[in-house]
Structures are given as structure tokens and as C-alpha cells.
Symmetry: C2
Subunit: 250 residues, 2 copies
Amino acid sequence: MAVSELSIGVAPGVPLYQDVKRKILDVVRRGDWKPGDTIPSEKRLAERFGVSIGTLRKAVDALVTENLLVRRQGRGTFVTTHDESRYVYSFFHVLRHDGFKEPPEVQLVAFDRVKADSYAASMLGLDASAPLFRVVNLLKLGGKPVVIDEICVPAGLFRGLTEKRARDRKVTLYQLYQADFGVTVLRTDERVRAVKADATTASLLAVPRGDPLLKVIRRALSFNDKPIELRFSYISTERYEYNSEPVALS
Amino acid sequence: MAVSELSIGVAPGVPLYQDVKRKILDVVRRGDWKPGDTIPSEKRLAERFGVSIGTLRKAVDALVTENLLVRRQGRGTFVTTHDESRYVYSFFHVLRHDGFKEPPEVQLVAFDRVKADSYAASMLGLDASAPLFRVVNLLKLGGKPVVIDEICVPAGLFRGLTEKRARDRKVTLYQLYQADFGVTVLRTDERVRAVKADATTASLLAVPRGDPLLKVIRRALSFNDKPIELRFSYISTERYEYNSEPVALS
DNA sequence: CAGTGGTCTAGACCACGTC
DNA sequence: ACGTGGTCTAGACCACTGG
């Protein structure tokens, strides 16, 4: 390594554990530890970074709360992967009115390559008219259409994505992002509006044109809050609803 | 005190710091430390509960992440109050399309005493037809009506709440709950649907009848996730939108 | 059984706020 | 100057997992 990982030359005023946290993050980003990997034990890491176990644990604690690492007692600490069942639908917020979350049945409706409009470019942090892949999915719940997803991702990040791969995947899109393109979704932000169903959306969802739908605008973010996806979801809330995560005083 | 707070007789398998956390919680719930109070220093608390400072800190850490306590370096640790400016609108999720949060101008539209229907009773954990206070507010943003709030609270928890007090308050409703009734809102859960504006809502919001509105169903929770409020918000999203909190992989 | 993370101790020293 | 929370150490022992 070019620069020592030992804690010589840390900026003054920065807590050691934050510096250690950043160094662990660097290793993950560099790809030395990949999603699903076990990372070295806390004892080894403490030696490697030249800090006490308590400090090393504090750094790992922070990464665990940010969902970059997962601890399993007796086994080790792992880099988060989307393949674990508990994560697979953690970003899917459409539930039955009784609160039950059904797994959606996904149908690809459209796939194309488009140029970013100014809104998409600013939301994704790209130059205007940057190339995007655009995927439109229809999600059925309980056998009936409930959600239309319009998904835009930078073509540069997902070189080689094709209609066939988007259609034939056996996993969620975010699992595909991670497994095939090394892109990990860590966070999303979402904003919700109520809109009237336009003609095409209404026909896909089998509701009258003009019916009220939720429009959810989602950005999916990776390391350093880098935006990697912009998604518009149109949701019929006749039998389902959008569940906001519990909010605590903050 | 009837039972010693020292850690004799802790259930086996329960970490000490969780026991300490529960004991601190008990003191707050008992009202010995009220919202806004400084609690004793970490050194004193460690002595009082017979644990090391590290363990005491871990208990306080947990209560801080649950927003029951607030630490301020050099000053002390405080019981959370809703009066701090950073908390005042933390449960208000209606923002301008550009992401700016304006403080709402609130007008009381109706105040009455009603019996809980079966839905409200189950959401609030009450018996059917338990007495409720019902408050209807109109919220203006940028001078124009944007939100109708219909708020239901158990009459038993808010004895003495009157139309005048609901109208004349100089603070948010949650500050009123805490200051006048000792009820602290710690968390909310929210579910969102899209609905057509009915006649009365449409006229209050000055939108055409049948226009799409967000309907947000919120429960406000206190200690032990006890429900203390059920609220229906009808939101016109022409110029504003509902902002879901950022969601992380979980 | 060995190795992992989880808990806990008993200090030390630092950074910050208040007086 | 003093008291507060914030960081950090260098261990010990416990609980869980896997071979």
C-alpha cells in the first residue's frame, strides 16, 4: 500500500475511530472485501490499524448502523449483500391495507436507452442529456396489477445491461445491480405526490383514467450518497398502501 | 425506593447495560426527571447503578438513539423536550417541490368529542366507542391551504382539553401534549394512500372535487410504543409533496 | 474445541461550556 | 478552574458458532 494505514498523521480533531471507519470503508470500496465476504476479526483489524479493540469496535459499530457491515456472533463480520432474504424487499414499501407485505410478481413492460432530461440529470448528478437505461416494470400483487415502476439508471454505471437481462433476472433489481455491476444500494430517499392516472398508466393498472394514484419519486444511493437510480412508482392504493418507515424524533 | 437499583438479581442472560437502560427509563417515566431536566452526570449515575462508566454510557447511548435523552458536551445530558427548535417540525413531512420546509399556518376548523369507531379504537388500543377528542385543522403553506389534519386522541389521556386551548396554543400540538398533559411523542408510523377529494375537503383546500389528494394515516407513539394519537392528513400535492424519511437497508 | 463477536471494567486524557 | 460529556486503552470474561 502506498500510504500506511497506521494512525500516523491523522488530522487533528478527528476522532481515531472515525479515521478507522474511513479506512475500512476504503478497503470495501477498493473491492478488497466484496459483498458477502467475511472481514478479518476485530482483534486482527485492531492490530492492523494500530488501535485498541474498543476503538476498532466503535468504527465497526458505525458501519453496522450504516448497513455496510453485518455482525454475526460466533461467526464473524461480513460485508452487506442484498442476497439475504431479510434484505430482498427492504426497499419495497407497498403493503396490503392489513399491513402484510406480499412479494410482487414483476413483468417487464419496456426497456430502452434514453437521454437524461434536466430533472433526471440533476437528480442523478449527471450532465444534461447523459445516456440512461430506462426500465418500465409492472408489479402484480395478489395476481392483480398494483404498481408501475419507471426506472432510470446511468448507462455508464451499467454497461452491458440489456432488455434480456432486465427481463430474465431471477432476483430483485438491486441484487442484479450488486451481483452483475458491483453497485450496492445502501439508502433511498423518497417523495410522494398524488396524481391522476394518465391513459397508459390507467390501462396497465386496470383502473379508470383519472383515478388517484400515488407517485413515488425515489433516488437510490450508494457509497458517499452517490445517486445510482431514479425511479418513479405509480401505485394504485385501492387494496394496497405505501408504508413510510417509522419516524423518530430527530 | 422499594427495590434496590443496584444490579443484584438481574435476569441471567440480560446484558447489564440493558438493565441500566430500563432503570433510567423507569426514572423518566416515573417523572423524577422531566422533559428539559438535566440528569445526573455519567459518573454519578455509574456509581448509583453500580456499573462502570463504559456500561453506563452504553445504556445512555441507547436512550439517545431512541431520542429519549440528549447529550450536550460540556453541559450534561437532558431529557428530550419538544420545545427545541430542531424538534418542533420534525414530524411535519410536507415540503415544497424544491425540498424547502415552510412552517405551516394552522387554523382550527372543528373541535368535538366523539366515540371511537372500531378502526380508531384498534389503532389506538382502546375499547370500542371509547371517548375521543377530535380536532380538525387547516394548514396553510405560503398563504394557501395545503393540508387538512383530522386528529383523534383518547379523551382519557387529555382530560381538560378544550376547543379554546386547541385554538389558542402558541406552540405545536405535540409541544402542547407534552407541556400540558405530560404526554411525549417519541415516534410515529405513517401509511399513505391516494384518494379523491370529497366535497368538504375540496372546498377547504380550494381544489376541484375529485382531485387526487394524499391521505396520510399517522399514529403517534409514546413510551413502550403506546399509541396516543391517530391522525388523517389530506394533502394537496400541486405545489408541495410528502417526504418520506431516508430509508437504509435494514 | 478454537475462534468469533458481545459485554464489562477501571481507569486516563481531551474538548467543551460555564462561571 | 471546574465539571461535563467524548475518546481511548488494555485487558478479562462470556456466549455463540462451527468443525
